[in-house]
């Protein structure tokens, strides 16, 4: 079976400033991949290149063995800043992808209402984005990406603006989605604990330009105990790797 996502030999610079250098990795069907790395190392840029929102200087991205086509592939994208369309209500924002793809009205209603129930925002159905708090916007942005029933989900630090309790809840929901619906997930975070809790595999990136520093397969069974010895050991080892990157920076 071919890989779900293949990233090969990716290079990207902005105004001669290298952001991604010779980056290659594959993601299997149904795999939950977490990307962690120092801030501004190029994680967001990488996701945007995978989506085709940014063109790489060289290198190749394949999804299901073909170049990305957002009209054909179903890729759910949760951008780093929850960008809701301000003229659409919460309901209409979540329904947007299904409308674009021409789904029948009834099916859209069913799908959107189910999602709103799942993440408990039914009460906000008719609110406009500017009336929502940051956390609530993040919810809607996630729901909107999930509404198109994507088989790949790209998430860029989606839980950053949430309180710890809500974050834990959504992490658990995401794992459910991954396990029951066999979604392939690429999840960017700078929260190492989050990565260790969620991932099948963790890619630790170097500071800019982003390369792969370490590839860590996580075979801990789920649900994972954040306080178990094994969990803490892995978390600390990754923290150590990231810290090394900062030290390189200071010396340089």
């Amino acid at each position: 079976m071919p890989f779900k996502v293949e990233v090969s030999n990716l290079h990207k610079s902005f105004n001669g400033f290298k952001v991604i250098e010779k980056l290659s990795f594959n993601v299997e069907q149904g795999e939950f991949l977490c990307l962690v790395g120092p801030s501004r190392c190029g994680k967001t840029t990488l996701l945007r290149i995978i989506l085709g929102l940014e063109t790489p200087d060289s290198g190749k991205i394949l999804v299901d063995g073909k170049p990305v086509n957002l009209e054909k592939h179903r890729i759910g994208y949760v951008p780093q800043d929850p960008t809701l369309l301000p003229w659409l209500s919460v309901y209409d924002n979540i329904a947007l992808g299904l409308r674009i793809r021409g789904f029948p009205r009834e099916e859209i209603k069913k799908q959107v209402e189910e999602l709103m129930r799942l993440i408990k925002i039914e009460g906000f159905r008719d609110y406009y984005p500017h009336q929502l708090s940051g956390g609530m916007k993040a919810y809607v942005s996630i729901a909107r990406a999930l509404a198109i029933n994507p088989d790949i989900i790209l998430m860029d630090e989606p839980f950053v603006n949430l309180d710890a309790q809500t974050r834990n809840l959504l992490q658990a929901e995401l794992i459910k989605l991954h396990e029951y619906a066999a979604k392939t997930i690429i999840f960017v975070t700078h929260n190492i604990e989050e990565a260790v809790f969620l991932a099948d595999r963790i890619l630790v990136l170097t500071k800019r330009p982003a390369r792969i520093k370490r590839n860590i397969s996580m075979d801990m069974p789920r649900p994972r105990n954040r306080y178990s010895e094994e969990f803490i050991k892995i978390r600390e080892s990754i923290e150590e790797l990231i810290k090394e990157e900062f030290e390189v920076e200071f010396k340089a």
Binding site: L51, L70, P86
Partner: protein, 251 residues
Amino acid sequence: MKARIPLLSLTSTICFFILWEAIVRFGLAPAALPSPSGVLYALYEVSGTLPTHVAHSLLHFAAGYLSAATVAIPLGMLAGWYAPARKALEPIIEFFRPIPPIAWIPFALLAFAGYFEASAFIIFVGAFFPLFTNTYTGFRDTPVSYVEVVKSLGADQLQILRRVALPSALPQIFTGIRIALGVGWMCVIAAEMFVPYGLGWAIIQMRYLHDIRAVMAYMFIIGALGFAMERTAKLIELKLFRWQRGLVVGV
């Protein structure tokens, strides 16, 4: 939303007219200045022919304004959305923009056979630029992040135009619609001063008759109609763009 006139505004308006009336009555103003009650009486005197003049003016206005909207809004969309169209249109638009609509009046009177077309053309010129410029800026300033959101959800070019560019430009287009109403209305009065019907013509006739009360009566009519149009547009705007207002809720 309830339309409530605040007490202070109401009082100040009433006081203004009472003061004006008093100044004229006690001979404190130049003799030519009519009193509000005199203007009111003149309004009553001209009311017989008023509907015809108003009808002519509104007709001129509608013809000019609607043709301007039909041309300016699509052109603005095109120039705002497609960079090549922008580059092609910009020099031509910028060539004509600094010519005041009023300066077109002699040209229009010579170029068009009928007074109707000539007046409508002046309004066309006046309304065109605010409509074009606002539509153009609205489309040009479509936030890239919104475009990317719908792209990631699978939108093609037409969907992007319909679901992002148009709604995000709409408030700005409406600003253009409202400004163009004001400019167009100014132009209609100016244009009609040279043609034999409409409010512009009527007000000029009263000048030749040395009836300053009637001149003021027409001034107020012209003002009131302009106000009514602007206000209607504003109300529609508030209804349409409710998504821009309200309080923040949630966690």
